[in-house]
């Protein structure tokens, strides 16, 4: 028998089909030779619909035209099942009983089952705060990485692509930020496997890391669930505080072999260029500046390099010179199908994105296998294998550094348009004030910066049904990443010139293993009460290794980082290895009383190696209660409201903020020297803290789910309040201790907010459908306590030039507020007294007309660090998304709008291109609007020439409104019915991404942060990769 089954599995499903047909027995009862066609509700014939005799094994499938035939006993019931459609049962009385069968799509019901940690529940039985995105929504979005699929789709989830570079870094904050020193990104769980915190090989310290989750192919995703409150997330205990994102990948389903090919090809351009002065304007402005300072104008026609402004012409448009039309393409082939015993889904894909900046591109190859084997009625084994190989050609961008090491986008904004495109490094008379000229074009073309990541995930899950009520789950799996980041600075770059060629070859690997064992117990008691228990144990370990190699002094440039042996200067090669072990016990009880009172209790105990000796274990309990008010007998029957559910929950979750070794006192290399050799020495590098523990977040949630007009309109409203205590802080120690900082648990922070999600079918006619969904979320954060200090300053914004922090964490204030000097207005002639002495506080007595007049907060009559104050807020007042789907017969149109409102951005580009500093090219609007004696404006955005030292300190003069409303995606598609014998169905589509962005922001794009996911530097723009606008066309074909 077993052999037979295995044999079956190895056959194709046509064979299986035949087997089933031949196994029909002739019985004594009256037979009916039935035939018919199965259609979907939009009148398409359905291929591969499974038709079985209720209570029997007999069955068949529909063919390519939706037709089937079967012989059955009169009076028997046939069950029609097809993925994505409601199951239909028909009692057969005569030959016509099933001549035309209509299967109703259950898209709205797909969400009926919601995946939660270690199990799933019916959507109507959810007690916590869980949002889900179904495949229907996912299919419409084009994105290189799955996290972008979430953008604007779920209330309470704020997704920011901090870099618009291909495969750029994405930051996700679910209900605000909870941690100051720890990670604020959610936990990702793919098919039950909690992924380790993403990492990759380090670069040379400049530029953002690429997207750590790029190994997951968005096309492989079936659904995404976001667990937001403590009741939902507590099952993930110490990793749940930032929310949990559960990703379920596509599985095979019962049916004939289904081959799908989809392709999309797109072109992208620079969405919103920043307009800068041309050569004529640049020369004129330079001259004007010099005249204003009593010097002779340089651009006077004395040499070809210094033409008179009128003869300078347009000059070089550096932004144009480094941008191009980007090309993206994405191809995916998948094969799926299966029988009751064996289901499979195999897919392979190629994704390529050539960015709009020269030499920036990303490619990824994915291969995925999902297999489900039902070995017996009791034992099911699912196997998942996902391999991804990606390669990023990066450019240096948004580094926050200015001198010598800035990226090409910064240079392109700054460089003089009078210089030719091929101006070499040694160009004299460049405007940058540097000895060497970093030609933006050369910088992008010659510098090589390649990151290659290989990701492998393999998981086996065995589910054994011990009895009808109890099933035992065993999961074993591994996730590994191998990452190499290599950089070469050639002699044509200033960095390469100074080091005679400089190569970096850095590697990172992460190996993660998991073993899980958990039981599910389900018991219904007299049809009205239901008990659902889950409990289990997990053991997970993660090992990371890094190695960083730096070599300089290369005799030749052209082999770059692939021939490190050519370089003659080697530096110490730091290597590291860390091990993280997590042991957990967890349990959840769902109890349904009288079908309307729902109780959930969840708890997890996490024991972690990274926690300190005295605090190895953390406990994370939670409870929730939901009341299906509309099920109450007293609930009035009415035509408007058909469903009301009220949910409350309370519980604790933790944050995995502590890194390996965080609690230990350690020694590291501290060598000494003689003239000829190093002598090895060791010295303490960290103080250690034997009491270090998790940050703990307490969340209360109140939610309501309402449905109106027979589920046509659905509304969910949630209120939450979270308090995170024991904030992990790098405490500033007195330096007299011999240590600068020590890790400690100090302080607390609060987030509270409201989320509203509204969706519905506005119009549902036979031919025309309009469905719509809208979400909006409001989050307010407040720092309650920081331990001994009342504030913590962020990192210096603009690491080596604008050397002052732009963000502050201050008790009583929201998270990461902007901090700096405040210009009240521009200095006017009336600000000087009769003796021409300033009547305002100055930096050093040399403030001039048209420059910023700074508020003297400490009334010291001198502008210095003591005059810094809170000047703005990087946190949005609210974020929202609005999606509309229209369909008319075979035409579909989907329009998705998304945006944020009320946040500010510290646009440090303005320190250069809108400050009148002749060291940099200026924007056209600065040229027209800036302060002059004839135009004594008071607009702090447009100061006069040479704002002086103020420009080096962060201040309100760089702040801009970061609100935007973006037409994120428009997709127009047309369904193809059968073409020839090969193509059975499909669709073609046209799509545009980032089509229109409405914003007052003057930089390339308001969705930005050069410091990526950093907590202490939020909302900062400097030389960031510009966002592209992408037009795509594509096909989906089923064979």
């Amino acid at each position: 028998m077993k052999k037979k089954r295995l044999l079956k599995q190895s056959k194709t499903f046509l064979l299986l089909n035949l087997c089933l047909l031949f196994s029909v027995h002739l019985l004594s009862q009256e037979k009916i030779a039935l035939s018919g066609t199965v259609f979907s509700d939009d009148n398409r014939p359905l291929l591969g619909v499974s038709i079985t005799l209720k209570g029997g094994k007999k069955g068949t499938f529909t063919d390519t035209t939706g037709k089937f035939s079967i012989i059955v006993n009169k009076g028997s019931t046939l069950v029609f099942a097809y993925i994505g459609h409601k199951i239909k049962e028909i009692v057969i009385n005569n030959e016509k009983s099933a001549s035309k069968v209509l299967l109703v799509s259950n898209f709205t019901d797909l969400g009926d089952v919601v995946v939660i940690g270690y199990g799933s529940v019916k959507k109507s039985d959810v007690t916590g705060s869980v949002s889900s995105i179904s495949q229907k929504d996912l299919d419409k979005v084009s994105g290189s990485t799955f996290d972008l699929l979430l953008q604007g789709r779920v209330a309470g989830v704020n997704v920011t692509q901090t870099s618009a570079e291909p495969n750029g870094n994405v930051s996700i904050r679910i209900r605000g930020s909870n941690s100051i020193s720890g990670n604020n990104e959610p936990l990702y769980v793919v098919d039950g496997y909690p992924l380790p915190t993403g990492g990759e090989a380090s670069g040379d310290g400049w530029g953002q890391p690429s997207n750590a989750l790029s190994g997951i192919n968005p096309n492989d995703i079936q659904s995404i669930e976001v667990l937001k409150d403590a009741s939902a997330a507590a099952i993930y205990g110490s990793r749940g505080a930032n929310g949990v994102v559960l990703i379920t990948t596509k599985k095979g389903s019962v049916g004939l072999v289904k081959i799908q090919y989809s392709a999309r090809v797109g072109a992208s351009d620079l969405g919103r260029p920043v307009k800068l002065m041309n050569a004529r304007e640049f020369a004129q402005n330079w001259n004007d500046d010099q005249i204003s300072r009593g010097l002779n104008p340089s651009y006077n026609g004395s040499s070809p390099a210094f033409p008179k402004p009128d003869s300078a012409g347009e000059g070089t448009n550096w932004i144009k010179a480094i941008t191009r039309t980007g090309i993206t393409q994405n191809h995916q082939l998948s094969i799926s199908g299966g029988s009751k015993e064996f289901k499979y889904n195999i897919s392979g894909s190629i994704y390529q994105n050539n960015g709009i900046i020269l030499n920036s591109n990303f490619s990824r190859y994915n291969f995925k296998i999902n297999l489900d084997n039902k070995l017996s009625e009791k034992l099911n084994i699912s196997t998942t294998l996902n391999y991804s190989n990606s390669s990023l050609n990066g450019i240096q961008q948004g580094t926050g550094a200015v001198i010598n090491v800035s990226g090409p986008i910064f240079y392109a904004q700054q460089s003089s348009p009078l210089l030719p495109v091929d101006a070499p490094l040694t160009t004299k008379g460049n405007n940058t004030g540097q000895v060497l000229f970093n030609n933006p074009v050369t910088t992008v073309k010659d510098r090589k910066d390649v990151t290659q990541n290989k990701d492998l995930n393999a998981t086996v899950l065995a589910v054994y049904k011990i009895s009808n009520a109890i099933s035992l789950n065993l999961r074993g799996g591994t996730t590994s990443r191998n990452s190499i980041h290599q950089i070469y600075y050639p002699l044509t770059s200033s960095q390469g010139f100074n080091n005679k060629g400089q190569a970096f070859s850095n590697s990172y690997s992460s190996e993660d293993q998991i073993f899980e064992c958990f039981l599910n117990y389900q018991k219904a008691i007299n049809n009205k009460n239901k008990l659902d228990l889950t409990g289990g144990y997990t053991f997970q370990t993660n090992t990371t290794r890094t190695q960083n190699v730096t070599v300089t002094n290369f005799p030749y440039d052209f082999l770059g980082f692939d021939a490190l042996q050519l370089g003659t200067s080697y530096f110490a090669t730091p290597t590291s290895k860390t091990l993280r072990t997590l042991q957990s016990f967890y349990a959840r009880t769902n109890y349904t009383l009288l079908n309307r009172y729902l109780f959930t209790f969840t708890g997890r105990a996490d024991g972690s190696s990274v926690c300190a000796q005295n605090n190895k274990w953390g406990y994370f309990p939670s409870g929730a209660f939901a009341w299906k008010l509309s099920q109450e007998p007293f609930f009035p029957k009415n035509k408007i409201v058909n469903n009301v559910k009220i949910r409350v929950s309370y519980g604790l979750t933790g944050n995995q903020g502590i890194g390996p070794l965080g609690s230990l006192a350690l020694l590291n290399v501290a060598n000494y020297t003689t003239t000829s050799q190093q002598i090895s020495g060791l010295a303490p590098t960290s103080l250690g803290n034997p009491d270090l523990k998790w940050e703990t977040t307490t969340t209360s949630n109140l939610g309501g789910d309402f449905s109106f007009f027979k589920d046509k309109l659905n509304l969910t409203i949630e209120f939450y309040q979270k308090t995170t205590k024991d904030l992990l802080q790098s405490l500033q120690l007195p330096l007299s201790s011999g240590f600068g900082t020590g890790l400690a648990n100090l302080g607390s922070i609060e987030n509270k907010g409201i989320e509203i999600q509204l969706s519905g079918n506005v119009i549902k006619k036979k031919k025309f459908n309009w469905s719509s969904s809208f979400n909006i979320s409001f989050n307010r954060s407040k720092i309650l306590n920081l331990g001994p200090k009342t504030y913590l300053l962020g990192r210096a914004a603009g690491s080596n030039y604008l050397n002052s922090p732009a963000n502050i964490m201050q008790v009583g204030q929201p998270y990461g507020m902007f901090y700096g000097l405040k210009a009240l207005r521009l200095i006017q002639a009336s600000d000087f007294d009769a003796n021409k002495q300033p009547t305002f506080a100055t930096f050093n007595g040399v403030q001039k007309l048209g420059q910023w007049l700074i508020q003297d907060v400490d009334t010291s009559k001198v502008i210095d660090d003591g005059d810094r104050q809170i000047i703005g807020n990087p946190n949005p007042k609210f974020t929202y998304g609005f999606n509309n789907d229209f369909s008319y017969e075979k035409f579909h149109l989907s329009i998705f709008v998304q945006g944020v409102y009320g946040n500010q951005i510290m646009n440090l580009n303005n320190a250069f291109i809108r400050s009148g500093l002749p060291i940099s090219n200026q924007t056209k609007d600065w040229l027209t609007n800036h302060w002059t004696p004839a135009n004594p404006t008071n607009d702090i955005r447009y100061p006069s020439y040479g704002t002086g030292i103020t420009s080096l300190t962060s201040g309100n003069y760089f702040l801009e409104d970061g609100s935007f409303l973006r037409l994120k995606n428009v997709t127009f598609s047309y369904d193809i019915s059968k073409i020839g014998k090969v193509i059975k169905s499909g669709s073609v589509f046209l799509s545009a991404t980032n089509l229109i962005t409405i914003t007052n922001y003057s930089g390339f794009d308001p969705e930005v942060n050069i410091y990526g996911q950093a907590n202490n530097a939020v909302g900062i723009d400097l030389g960031s990769y510009p966002r592209s606008r992408t037009y795509e066309m594509g096909v989906n074909l089923n064979f």
Binding site: C517, Y570, A572, F585, T673, A683, P734, G738, F739
Partner: protein, 504 residues
């Protein structure tokens, strides 16, 4: 059914406490250290490392604090100028850097002093290692107490957050520890080292430093005049027994600083640097003239001597003058550059003074990869300090004092003094002469501010310093001590603003 229950026991197999014990792979947990004599030696080199690494303190921040506040030094580099014109504030990076690095050295030394005694190893080696740690602790406290006054006195290793907080002690309490550490060091340290230990401290250096400590205590602000004799005796002891350590003046002044002649007989203690990766410094880079072949990329030239100082040297003293100052030099293009303050200067990019020429490294491995050792104490200093102390003890010069200064001048090949010379005949004139001699002999060797401080001559310095005059700085007694860095006050509740040095 029952048999499946056993599966529930699988976790028990995995769940043993050991699994959660954290392992360190790429660094060493302190708990597992200090077991063998080689651990003790490694930890000791870690203490030395605090002198040559950190944020370039001995070669950079300490230079800013000690070299620049002088009437003979000027700078146009903003961060350095703050010190030549006395406008630094309490958050200054140099103030904070020197403070931090001194305490890093102290904490590491405390680690050795606390832990080495419990290692079972050769007792004599143990004593030497502890003595070396005590020498470095004393040296660090000596810098701290001179620059900041009474400071938190840490004499045991910081092991927990609770250990991290200490109030200020008095200067006298700090000096007590310095004297006791150096006394133990001079007793237990060897007189000579094998070549493999070149650069590690020997007993003569401890005695010499102890003498300098007494000399400092005898001067301003403590004015413990009984220490003059103690200082004099220490210096005399070194001079009388110099052969024991091999101390001598080199014949040629320039050779004292030569990169190929480091750790020569004149050097009593210097901080070791080399151009091996991570073992260099930026002293030559910060001090050498622009486009000169003496430093990475030609020298950044952050500061220099005033022309007035150049002219102070007598004609016969050109040896020392031309070694101390790079008034003229041949640049990398083979062109002769001469210092010139005028508008059409050639080579000297801007008038930052006449570049310091004592530290030159033509083959550095990077900006911070210069191999010049930083001299902490050398024999010529001992001779001059002896002359100074002897004059103070006797309230006038004697032949021994004259002889000491004579040795230094003879080596410089300049005019020799005699007791009949009016410049060397009375208490006051000899005091002036010996103070000037220190300037000629030791300028640019981390002596300037310390000398001004103990002589109590800061008022004159500020009144005559060109940078201070330009900035309009007027003398205030507060400038005798640097302020406690604000970050220390912010982070340490046991030191409040009321405990800050007066005037800051």
């Amino acid at each position: 059914m029952k048999k499946y229950i056993y599966i529930l026991f699988i976790p028990v197999l995995f769940s043993c406490k050991k699994q959660l014990q954290e392992q360190a792979f790429s660094s060493i947990p302190s708990d597992n250290f200090y077991k063998t004599s080689s651990d003790a030696v490694s930890a000791l080199y870690g203490v030395y490392n605090a002198l040559n690494r950190g944020s370039s303190d001995w070669d950079n921040n300490l230079y800013t604090m000690v070299f620049l506040p002088s009437e003979y030094v000027e700078s146009t580099i903003a961060e350095r100028q703050l010190f030549s014109n006395f406008t630094y504030g309490t958050t200054n990076v140099s103030l904070t850097g020197v403070w931090r690095q001194a305490y890093v050295a102290i904490d590491r030394a405390n680690g050795v002093i606390d832990n080495v005694p419990i290692i079972s190893m050769d007792d004599s080696l143990k004593k030497v290692i502890i003595a070396e740690a005590k020498f470095i602790r004393a040296l660090s406290y000596f810098n701290l107490v001179r620059l900041y006054g009474g400071v938190p006195l840490k004499i045991s290793k910081t092991r927990s957050l609770a250990d991290a907080y200490l109030p200020r002690s008095t200067a006298n309490q700090v000096y007590d520890v310095i004297i006791s550490d150096l006394t133990e060091a001079e007793t237990n340290l060897p007189n000579k080292r094998p070549a493999s230990e070149t650069g590690r401290v020997i007993s003569g250096a401890a005695s010499g430093l102890l003498g300098k400590v007494y000399l400092t205590m005898a001067g301003n602000p403590l004015n413990q005049t009984d220490k003059w004799a103690l200082a004099r005796d220490k210096f005399k002891y070194i001079m009388d027994n110099k052969a024991r350590w091999g101390y001598a003046l080199l014949t040629n002044y320039k050779d004292v600083f030569s990169l190929t002649n480091e750790n020569n007989n004149e050097i009593m203690f210097s901080i070791q640097f080399s151009n091996l990766t991570g073992q260099g410094n930026l002293l030559a880079f910060a001090s050498c003239p622009p486009n000169s072949p003496f430093a990475m990329g030609g020298g950044q030239y952050n500061y220099g001597f005033t022309p007035k100082f150049y002219n102070l040297f007598v004609a016969s003293d050109t040896n020392r003058r031309n070694t101390t100052m790079a008034y003229t030099y041949i640049d990398r293009n083979g062109r002769l550059n001469t210092y010139n303050t005028g508008p059409n200067y050639n080579g000297y990019a801007e008038p930052r003074g006449i570049a310091l020429g004592k530290y030159q490294d033509p083959n550095p491995s990077g900006n911070t990869g210069h191999a010049n050792d930083v001299i902490v104490l050398r024999y010529a200093d001992i001779l001059l300090m002896f002359a100074e102390a002897e004059n103070e003890v006797n309230m006038g010069p004697d032949q021994a004092a004259i002889d000491a200064i004579k040795q230094v001048r003879a080596r410089a090949k300049t005019t020799l003094p005699s007791i009949t010379d009016p410049n060397y005949s009375t208490y006051t004139s000899f005091q002036v002469a010996v103070r000037k001699e220190r300037l000629f002999e030791l300028s640019g060797e981390l002596t300037e501010f310390f000398d001004i401080q103990r002589w109590g001559t800061l008022q004159t310095t500020i009144a005559t310093s060109p940078d201070a005059i330009k900035a309009g700085t007027t003398f205030d007694k507060k400038f005798y001590l640097y302020p406690i860095p604000l970050s220390e006050i912010d982070a340490n509740p046991l030191i409040g603003q009321q405990n800050q040095n007066p005037g800051w």
